[in-house]
């Protein structure tokens, strides 16, 4: 793996199709590199909790890794921003969401991540390594995509372990990096340890107090941590 170089990213607005919808996204890539180091797809947090492609973590990692030579895609889930799909129906969804932090059908959003992966495969040289990065709720969607997409690495930023099923990460066959904020309101240390113990090697857990669940002001650190992990583990 060549050492990552800093280069200014180009950010292009793109649209791509999933099985059911056309979604909008932003493709970021280095301006002065013919071939990127690989493709990164970013799955953001829950669409009802600010999960969109302008979120600071998603945007920070997308632009930051593009500066370091990666082509990255962040996107809006169905129904968010200019992505097609049903909008939030307040009366139907909000009472349920307030009580449970879930809405019915939310796990189907893995298909949106799959659409983003397909777009990257079609746009870039398909032999380039693929990295899937999830933030918060987006982490829970990665295993479903990972089974078919054969990623070179998974990165889970602030996985809310108590809220979804993360047991299927144990089946992943690629290096995995988990980044957790020590003061995250969703964090349960015993659960984190138990989950991390089930994961196959190679794996790494990085913890630091980073503005609760939100990493505001810590985006460069996220990029640095992710980039160092990828440099170390990708051939």
């Amino acid at each position: 793996m060549p050492s990552a170089e800093m280069s200014r990213p180009v950010v292009e607005g793109v649209r791509f199709s999933t099985a059911d919808h056309v979604l909008e996204g932003e493709l970021a890539y280095p301006e002065d590199r013919d071939t990127p180091l690989g493709a990164v797809v970013l799955a953001g947090s829950h669409p009802l909790l600010g999960g969109n492609m302008h979120n600071n973590v998603v945007r920070g990692l997308g632009d930051g890794l593009a500066e370091r030579g990666w082509a990255t895609l962040r996107f809006n889930y169905r129904g968010v921003g200019r992505s097609e799909g049903p909008r939030v129906d307040v009366a139907r969804h909000m009472a349920e969401f307030w009580q449970t932090s879930h809405v019915s059908g939310e796990m189907d959003l893995w298909q949106d991540v799959q659409g983003a992966v397909d777009f990257m495969r079609a746009t870039l040289d398909p032999s380039l390594p693929l990295v899937l990065i999830g933030y918060s709720f987006g982490c829970a969607l990665l295993p479903a995509v990972g089974r078919a997409a054969n990623p070179a690495a998974l990165i889970a930023v602030a996985p809310p372990l108590g809220k979804h099923d993360y047991s299927n990460f144990a089946d992943s066959r690629c290096p995995l990096l988990a980044i957790v904020s020590e003061d995250d309101f969703t964090l349960e240390q015993p659960r984190l340890k138990a989950w991390f113990d089930t994961l196959p090697e190679p794996k790494r857990l990085v913890q630091k107090a980073s503005d609760n669940h939100f990493f505001r002001g810590h985006e460069p650190w996220l990029v640095e941590t992710a980039s160092a992990f990828l440099e170390e583990h990708l051939p």
Partner: protein
């Protein structure tokens, strides 16, 4: 950790500086304000808060409003306000005063300055507030000649004007009242801000300044040839005038307030050097372009011309000050504040005072409070938002019982608490202690959210809104607010458009 301070007289000239400077120093402040014919107490506080933020170029928290009046029992405070004071306040800065040089039919200035002070002392004692910082005046010395000492209270022959007599009586009252640790501050003649020239009142020195402008006929602009006024004044010109800028008085008081070992004394907040009347007249003559003022001694002017009579009539109210010839002892002040000398009263300072007064048209064309924009942020948050929420589909999913706070910094800001209550929002001013969630932001960030230039969640991710308390509930509630705004905007786009963009 310093507790809160109760400030009276915040709407006064010096009071607004005290409020600003307390907030700048990070002190929590409760202000006693009464509504008047033109403005509610809330609106008056809005104006003071705006002044504090704008003049300090800082985004300052809004003080706690205690709506009351020194002229009513218990200062007109309700049980909740008294309970807040008992819980939060440990000191009072008493700068409220009624300035009238002649007695009024309704008993002023004694009713406010003496009886009001007594009511304040009684209230403080009942609430356990034991530290009093009392604003008096250096002229409690009345018509004394020679040196007026900080540690004495002596009205000379007792011939001071009604205001001086009432302030003298208030000091006596405080002196005899046991159970309070009292610090007394006696400023001399207070004029505008030495840095900006700002003033909110045009009494005393300003009357002479404006008269000078009129007589010179130049609207304050310099002329190449001086106007000869040919005016005789029944004064020697040697009379000493002690003048201090409002910002220094405020700073000096708060500096002493911050040094508990200096409490319990009396301080003359006065200039190190008094100006002779002829010196002041010379400065004005240079600035305004006049000459020809002569000093004929203090024996009167029996053959006054029409112009001289007019001038003397203007001076009538202030005659005792003009004739005063007292030196103010400053030993306590110098011990407490050796490094904070008052700014010099010189031509540059007077020219700043003059420039501000002329820009402000001597206070005559200041916009009336009633003309303030009725669609302010406060109005929207207190009236429009709860009313419109009731008709929103979001109302039915509001989590019953949840209390949240909007803590908005900067001009137009304040603290508002909301309780979700069976599909409606109950709102009150101040910060609920049992809120689950508090959103802290500057006013422009909130204006952007309300006008849907940015979602609340995005403003949070961009660091423009901070959250205290339950982060998950805060994010969910932010979504509800966004949904409400989106729907409300569809129903009545104008309503949100009308919220003025604060900042």
């Amino acid at each position: 950790m310093a507790r809160s301070i109760l400030l009276t007289g915040a709407t006064g000239f010096l009071g607004r500086y005290l409020l600003r400077d307390l907030l700048v120093r990070g002190r929590s402040v409760g202000v006693l304000i009464r509504g008047n014919a033109e403005q509610s107490a809330d609106e008056r506080l809005d104006e003071l808060h705006d002044f504090a933020c704008e003049s300090s170029s800082r985004t300052l928290p809004r003080p706690v409003l205690l709506e009351g009046d020194l002229r009513t029992p218990n200062l007109g405070l309700d049980a909740a306000e008294r309970s807040w004071l008992a819980r939060e306040a440990d000191a009072v800065v008493h700068s409220a005063a009624y300035v009238a040089y002649q007695p009024t039919p309704d008993g002023e200035p004694w009713e406010t300055n003496v009886n009001g002070t007594y009511r304040l002392l009684e209230l403080c004692q009942s609430l356990g507030i034991a530290e009093l910082h009392h604003l008096s005046t250096a002229f409690v010395c009345g018509d004394r000649r020679g040196t007026a000492f900080e540690d004495e209270l002596d009205l000379g022959d007792g011939t001071g004007n009604a205001y001086e007599q009432s302030k003298f009586a208030a000091e006596q009252l405080i002196h005899d009242y046991s159970g309070m640790r009292t610090t007394i501050y006696r400023p001399s003649i207070v004029v505008g801000d030495s840095a900006t020239g700002y003033t909110s009142t045009y009494h005393h020195f300003y009357r002479f300044l404006e008269l000078g402008v009129r007589l010179s006929g130049q609207g304050g602009k310099k002329r190449t040839r001086r106007q000869n006024l040919s005016i005789r004044l029944p004064l020697t010109g040697e009379e000493a005038q002690n003048i201090v800028p409002v910002n220094w008085v405020s700073q000096a008081l708060l500096e002493i307030l911050s040094q508990p070992r200096r409490h319990g004394s009396t301080y003359h907040l006065v200039a190190s050097r008094s100006m002779r009347l002829r010196e002041i007249c010379a400065i004005l003559g240079d600035l305004l372009g006049f000459e020809g003022v002569s000093w004929v001694g203090s024996e009167g002017l029996p053959d006054a011309t029409a112009l001289e009579s007019l001038v003397l009539d203007q001076f009538k109210e202030y005659w005792s000050y003009l004739r005063a010839n007292v030196i103010f002892d400053r030993r306590n002040l110098l011990r407490a504040l050796p490094d904070l000398p008052p700014p010099a009263f010189d031509a540059a300072f007077v020219s700043r005072l003059l420039a501000f007064a002329q820009r402000d048209n001597w206070g005559r064309n200041r916009s009336r409070p009633a003309e303030r924009d009725g669609s302010s942020l406060g109005h929207y948050l207190e009236r429009v938002l709860p009313m419109r929420m009731k008709n929103s589909p979001v109302a039915e999913v509001l989590p019953d019982g949840l209390i949240f706070v909007l803590d908005v910094r900067g001009p137009g800001g304040g603290q508002w608490s909301y309780r979700c209550d069976e599909g409606s929002l109950r709102v009150w001013r101040g910060r609920a202690a049992d809120a689950s969630v508090a959103y802290r932001m500057e006013a422009p960030a909130l204006a952007d959210v309300l006008q849907r230039r940015q979602t609340a969640q995005q403003a949070f991710f961009d660091g423009r809104i901070d959250i205290e308390g339950d982060a998950e509930k805060a994010m969910k509630l932010a979504l509800l607010i966004e949904q409400f705004l989106a729907h409300d905007n569809e129903v009545s786009p104008l309503e949100t458009e009308r919220i003025h963009a604060v900042g």
